[in-house]
Amino acid sequence: MLFFNFLIAFIVGGFICVIGQLLMDVFKLTPGHTLSILVVVGAILDGLGLYEPLIDFAGAGATIPITSFGNSLTHGALAEAEKHGWVGVLTGMFEVTSSGISAAIVFGFIAALIFKPKGKAN
């Protein structure tokens, strides 16, 4: 059963990356455009109520790709909107997502303290 969960995470996560690769290769999009599209898709899927079932099914295969960033932003906004109405759309947004962004900021700062730049982008 455990092995099966790992396999599902591998396949679903890999498949989302394949979509990203096709956007880059076939439609000649930059990585920035590709990731932006995937984030928007994740937000829309959560609006349709489809992303949570995907997480239940695939675990980290759905939470690790960047689509989950759009999902959790929407999820926080919807949860607060349900409780507090209009204001909740703004206040709830970062409730669920905060860990990814705060981790990136904190570790980015620590990395800048520790590591020296090695020429062209690390």
């Binding site: 690769q21 920035g32 790709p65 960033f69 919807l78 947004m93 980015g108 990395a111 690390n122």
Partner: protein, 151 residues
Amino acid sequence: MDPQEYQQLEQQMTPPTPYLKNVLKAFFVGGIICTIGQAITYLYVIFFNFTEQTAGNATVATMVFIAMILTGLGLYRKLGQFAGAGSAVPVTGFGNAVISAAIEGRTEGFVLGVGSNMFKLAGSVILFGVASAFFVALIKLILVSVGVLEW
């Protein structure tokens, strides 16, 4: 040489994109990164009393931490050259974008360099994530208050 000729020449000179190879590499590397994420999720669930829902946030933070180490050592860039979207799409790619911009910014100082440049690459992801989440939530809120949908 007129622009059309140049374009033709450019098309002849550019090597064809190895679609299948790129897709396979993206699939395997992306899949492996997600499998590692799954393993970290289980570690949090088994040893730190997280539920599978709450472990997601801790997992993302841990993955970004790993991305910091790999980025600092210059290894994530090499992985990216090999894997393309396979290493860009997982959250480690987001972490890498922020962290590599932060390290690069160091030459211009901590305020104007690190602080200002940190989200140079990842900023678009945050912008479009937040903007689309806002509109999706707004539309759903309107549909619910009109009575078309229920929460």
